[in-house]
Subunit: 378 residues, 2 copies
């Protein structure tokens, strides 16, 4: 096997982008559609609301009846209890909040202030005209979208199919750690990114029946490497070696069946970062999501120098200091996955950079932005 | 029923905090533990690595053999192929990357530079000493934690049990919208926050067999209200009415069985924001997570005035302008759930504030920070 030359992270990401696009669609029940990506525009089948209706719980009244009402001149007007979303009874044109009435008896409501027509009324079609676009293709559905679709009367929606990810654990047995040490981590990552995992051995790795194949382990660049040799035999290796630390032995290619195949290094930290930058990017794109890293980023100031080698994109673990600045931790290449537990996030130092001086303004990615958010809440 | 007085958002949140704490624990398989909260400290059962081992894929050599090696003086030293994580063979003390060797034959490796002892070697116990704390109780497990637990040889972990949320849809039939318009949205929210939903009718709402009860709809403050009257009969209502817009008819109480019961308004936008601030807070806390809103926040500058009534905490939908500033949209109270589809996020205007002038520096919550992040990536 002739090993292709090592490429930049940008080149490898471009390979992933060329190899992947959103999968076809399927119709699923609305209740299970959270986090799925809409595969077609959804328009409103009717006006929403379909008729003038109550915007709050209260009493439906006719505004003209309230003329002259005041704290010293309460007026008993005809009015009926109404809940939000119920159509206004004929002859009424406003809704009075319960707190704004003094009492109710015999179908009459005591008003202590005048009411304008249209108050607390949701007019027909204000949320959406019939046929209006409600939610655009490509939207990743959150709870609020699901609520809106239910309001429009949809109980099924077309979404991008979940990517079927075939996960193959290769490499040799380790002393002290299970050979499939990366399996649970990769399954969790694939699930997070919208894929579903099936497992296979290296022998049945490259046949049809999946949307993408990930092989973890056995990617060292020697001629005897299991993963690259197997892919060479069953298809082709297009890239072997990426200027990324940790994780420079990543491979990219196609099985003879046309399936994209990504080879991930077996060392857990290298496996994690290769997944995040390349395999995860592929799966997110297949699922119709953005390919970008699914971590929140923020402007940050580093309290200490961050050192990185030129010629390699480096993922540098960082810790957030109590004052809000960041500082670098030992590198993933030296310290392995453990440092990802101690870190609050990471900085990406590009290939052309030697790092940053103390005090530099950076973009930091945070593993969990909610901890920080929690401190900010009232 | 005597209706308790309307309380502040802070008071209602404090009620939720007093009513909820993390549930008991269960042991589950590591592969399904993503997003669950660790219910006990996990320590390393052994040193990681358990012995000196290769930190990269390469060749294991003895550093002393490489003395004097150089580009013009390649030295063939005894060396064997090794993968990351494999224990160094006796007599070796360094690992040479494959790229740094010229060839290999007959169990010898050609070195073109000297190697120092310990290079590319992960020493026993550097990731964790035997018995060292690996991951602390209360940690919400992400993929990297799962990888670390696998590396430590764990295949099951103790996690906080998932909250069992009994969802009751009350209220009256709507014209044009299904009566259970909030069901799918609430199910998605409950799932997002780590709970599992069971459905029930109002009659069987308050018995045991759940950890919390949510009743959506029928919360208007009139004496005839289904939800509050039913809870009064089956337990007690402690709060009815919160100074929140949208969603001031929320209720809080306990069933006779001791279950906390939250009454959510039926209007979808009011239901959503009551869930996010109170019911979701309760479920997140039961699941062992932070109670805070699960949205990323950022400093933001508003290009326009944001107006809000004094005496009510208002959730104000905002849109991010192309330049990065924000502007307010029509209020949820006026425009309903639809505006949550158009919005990129929201601002919370506290009860004591009338809003903010144009140009004010605010904290904005963003629905999807990844769109923004994507633009920032190299």
């Amino acid at each position: 096997m002739s090993a292709p030359a090592r490429v930049s992270v940008e080149r490898a990401a471009a390979w992933v982008d060329a190899a992947t696009r959103p999968l076809g669609s399927e119709k699923i029940a609305l209740a299970g559609a959270a986090d799925r990506v809409l595969a077609a525009d959804v328009s409103s089948p009717r006006a929403i609301p379909s008729a003038d209706c109550a915007a709050i719980d209260g009493y439906a009244v006719r505004a003209a009846h309230s003329l002259g009402a005041g704290p010293y001149n309460p007026i008993a007007v005809p009015g009926g209890r109404i809940e939000w979303g119920e159509v206004l009874p004929s002859g009424t044109d406003a809704v009075v909040a319960i707190d704004h009435t003094d009492m109710e008896a015999d179908g009459r409501v005591l008003l202590v202030e005048p009411v304008a027509a249209g108050v607390n009324v949701a007019r027909a079609g204000t949320a959406a005209a019939a046929g209006a676009l409600l939610i655009a293709e490509g939207t990743r559905l959150a709870s609020r979208h699901i609520g809106m679709l239910a309001l429009a009367g949809r109980d099924r929606v077309p979404v991008v199919r979940r990517p079927r990810v075939r996960l193959v654990i290769a490499g040799r047995a380790r002393a002290g750690s299970p050979v499939d040490v990366n399996r649970a981590m990769l399954q969790a990552l694939i699930e997070r990114d919208g894929g579903e995992t099936t497992s296979a051995g290296l022998v049945e790795a490259f046949g049809p029946g999946a949307d993408i194949v990930l092989v973890a382990g056995g990617t060292g660049r020697g001629g005897e490497d299991g993963a690259a040799v197997a892919l060479s035999a069953a298809g082709r290796v297009e890239i072997h070696g990426v200027a990324l630390s940790p994780g420079d032995t990543a491979g990219f290619g196609y099985a003879a069946s046309g399936l994209p195949v990504l080879l991930l290094p077996g060392a857990p930290a290298a496996c994690l970062w290769n997944y995040e930058l390349f395999a995860g990017r592929a799966i997110r794109r297949l699922a119709g999501r953005h390919g970008a890293l699914p971590y929140a980023s923020r402007s940050a100031v580093s309290a200490r120098k961050i050192v990185s080698a030129i010629g390699v994109t480096e993922i540098c673990p960082i810790r957030r200091l109590p004052g809000g600045e960041i500082e670098p931790l030992a590198s993933f290449a030296e310290a392995g996955l453990r440092v990802a537990i101690d870190a609050t996030g990471f900085v990406i130092v590009p290939e052309a950079s030697e790092g940053y001086p103390a005090g530099a303004d950076l973009i930091a990615y945070l593993f969990d932005e909610h901890d920080t958010l929690a401190e900010r809440r009232p």
